[in-house]
């Protein structure tokens, strides 16, 4: 399948009052047309920043792109002008944000917010745009869409608002949809509805979806491939089954060991000790070593390269280094 988005060695930092904040380091990922890719990690791991960087939604004045390339459909887009980016953002890629309350403008009706994209990029007339908007709302499972067009965000429930946001994102039939924690603000039953909606939309429209979430359950249910991020780095990547069945990186293992197993209620959860590093003071070497139970001398000094595991996925961890076996330590 054709590669739609290709990000190579993307390093981003921010200028802040406290100094330089390292947001991502050498992030490499790609998305093929029509596939669902997950990015999973805890808060501050750089998963949202990566998506925002691709769509160039980061504040230009304070963002430093230290290295890396972003290629869209075979073309490097970092040199694009703002106008070209606007074109790309509306029609080729779109984003669904985490908080459906703040992502919608409270003083505009739902209809006018969906119409905005349609009239801007597809140059539809007002009545055509209205019809199109109603059709979109119907597609995302909103009943009596003609009436909803005239309603305002506060008149809708959280799940309903998230559906509207999805409709807005779909307005110009993007080829890639970033869903940035789309269900984090929602309740479990509503979350299930929205995930089901995303899954069916993805299948019908043959659109690529990048699902960003901290919830391993959501990722497992939705994605074909997964990137696990920690402290700004991709620590492990591969097919979803490989990652969940045989995690290779100690961080992924720790994350999975943090989830209770309903079948074994009384098993003590191991989890991960310590806390994520301060983004202003990143550890040298492997960024996970201060929390890693299996840390070795080399982890403190050198950033681990990616090693391919037996199950065909890649992880950045010295434990997988072939020379480790050869250097018979004992």
């Amino acid at each position: 399948m054709a590669t739609l988005l290709d990000v190579q060695n993307l390093s981003i930092s921010f200028r802040t009052y406290r100094g330089i904040l390292a947001a991502t380091h050498d992030v490499t990922l790609h998305v093929d047309a029509g596939e669902t890719v997950g990015i999973v990690g805890e808060s501050g791991c750089g998963k949202s920043v990566t998506a925002h960087a691709v769509m160039r939604l980061l504040p230009a004045a304070t963002t430093i792109y230290s290295s890396g390339t972003i290629t869209w459909d075979g073309e490097a887009i970092q040199g694009y002008t703002e106008k070209e980016m606007n074109h790309l953002r509306g029609r080729e890629m779109a984003m669904v944000f985490q908080d459906p309350m703040t992502a919608l403008n409270p003083v505009l009706s739902i209809g006018s917010q969906i119409r905005e994209g349609l009239t801007l990029h597809q140059h539809l007339s007002r009545s055509d745009a209205d019809q199109e908007a109603a059709a979109l709302l119907r597609e995302v499972g909103i009943t009596s869409p003609e009436r909803r067009l005239h309603q305002y965000p506060h008149e809708l429930s959280g799940g309903m608002r998230q559906r509207c946001l999805i409709a807005m994102a779909l307005a110009c039939s993007p080829r890639l949809l970033f869903a940035d924690e789309p269900t984090t603000a929602l309740d479990v039953t509503t979350e299930a509805q929205v995930l089901q909606l995303l899954r069916s939309l993805q299948a019908e429209r043959q659109m690529a979806v990048v699902l960003i979430s901290h919830n391993l359950g959501v990722i497992a249910q939705m994605c074909r491939r997964v990137y696990v991020m920690y402290a700004g780095c991709v620590v492990e990547e591969g097919p979803v089954e490989a990652i969940f069945d045989e995690p290779a990186h100690p961080y992924t293992q720790g994350l999975l060991a943090s989830l209770p197993d309903p079948a074994h209620k009384d098993k003590i959860l191991t989890g991960i000790a310590g806390q994520a590093p301060d983004l202003f003071h990143m550890p040298t070497g492997c960024r996970f070593y201060p929390r890693c139970r299996q840390a070795m001398q080399i982890c403190k000094r050198q950033v681990p390269p990616y090693y391919t595991t037996g199950t065909g996925h890649r992880a950045a961890c010295w434990l997988l280094c072939p020379e480790r076996e050869e250097c018979a330590w004992h």
Binding site: D187, T190, A192, Q193, A220, G254, S258, P262, G271, Q275
Partner: protein
């Protein structure tokens, strides 16, 4: 005898008043909930946002005045002044938001010491400092943390400070109001494990409120499920999780995103939670329930005993304690 026995607790908020100050619109956040908590027991309380689980905890603790119902502490009503005082001292609370629940202008030492000061339990300054250090140590925080301010700590560490504060009065029971939902997964485990250790060491009871049913199941002996202010199901943790009887509990458990790529989800519950300002007649769940019958629309189901310590508020919940 139960440590805490809530009987028919109801909490109504006035939403709107007319110009004379008479209530026009009311919202029943908690409707006739009865729940008991034994010494050393953990009872989980789950439900979606707005189902009244936090309001129930706050009402029982007296942070909101209750509309009706009785709360018994060791068999005596907390409306009685002496019992009430003992109850408020021995039942403490941990809050959801570790950022909002600590005063940003107080040092950690002052925060943890505040309950002790309120009850005048400290002998002198040195004694207070000593106790605070011991409390911080109990929640795995270094003693030097005492001189710092909350904003210098991460969410997980702040929640530890909140727990140290709750432990200050040597409580018998702690109401945990979504203590882990604002935290990262790996930190959640640290807090949960710590709560279990403290329970073991101090013989604490917990009322553990959360929306993460899997974690509640892991932590609790019994689970109560709330929907629109009503307790719809109550039962032993394993039985309720693996064999839910109320259709809402079934839907809730089916909706949990499983961290297993091979798992295929069943049907998704349709519709949304109705407004608590206008709850549906009959069974409040009937507009979303896949098994609704005529009776559900008219008749309010009572919490029935299904045997095996299980209760469900559904006309058609099956009896028996088979798992």
């Amino acid at each position: 005898m139960a440590l805490i026995d809530m009987q028919h607790v109801t909490k109504t908020f006035v939403v709107d008043r007319d110009w004379l100050g008479r209530p026009v619109r009311q919202l029943t956040a908690v409707h006739d909930v009865s729940l008991s908590l034994a010494a050393g027991e953990t009872v989980g309380l789950v439900g979606e946002s707005g189902c009244g689980k936090s309001t129930l905890a706050r009402t029982v603790l007296g942070l909101y005045p209750k509309t009706s119902g009785t709360i018994l502490y060791k068999g005596k009503s907390v409306d009685d002044e002496a019992t009430g005082r003992a109850f408020r001292r021995h039942v403490q609370m941990i809050f959801q938001d570790p950022y909002a629940s600590l005063d940003p202008r107080m040092t950690v030492e002052d925060i943890v010491a505040e309950p002790l000061r309120n009850y005048h339990l400290e002998r002198d300054k040195a004694d207070l400092r000593c106790r605070v250090t011991a409390l911080l140590e109990e929640v795995d925080m270094p003693a030097e943390a005492a001189q710092r301010y909350p904003h210098e700590f991460s969410g997980g560490q702040r929640q530890r400070i909140g727990i140290a504060r709750a432990l200050a009065l040597s409580p018998e029971c702690i109401f945990c109001d979504e203590p882990i939902s604002a935290l990262d997964v790996s930190v959640q485990v640290q807090i949960v494990n710590m709560l279990q250790r403290l329970q073991h060491e101090r013989g604490l009871s917990y009322l553990f409120i959360a929306h993460d049913l899997a974690m509640v199941h892991h932590l609790s002996q019994r689970i109560g499920v709330m929907y629109l202010g009503r307790l719809v199901e109550l039962g032993p943790s394993d039985a309720l999780y693996h064999d839910p009887r109320h259709p809402y509990t079934q839907a809730l458990i089916a909706a949990i995103p499983r961290p297993d790529p091979h798992y295929r989800r069943h049907d998704v519950l349709a519709g949304e939670v109705p407004s608590p300002l206008a709850p549906p007649p009959g069974c409040v769940f009937h507009p979303r329930c896949p098994y609704t019958q005529e009776r559900c629309r008219k008749e309010v189901p009572l919490l029935r005993d299904l045997g095996g310590g299980r209760l469900a508020a559904c006309h058609f919940a099956k009896r028996g304690d088979a798992v």
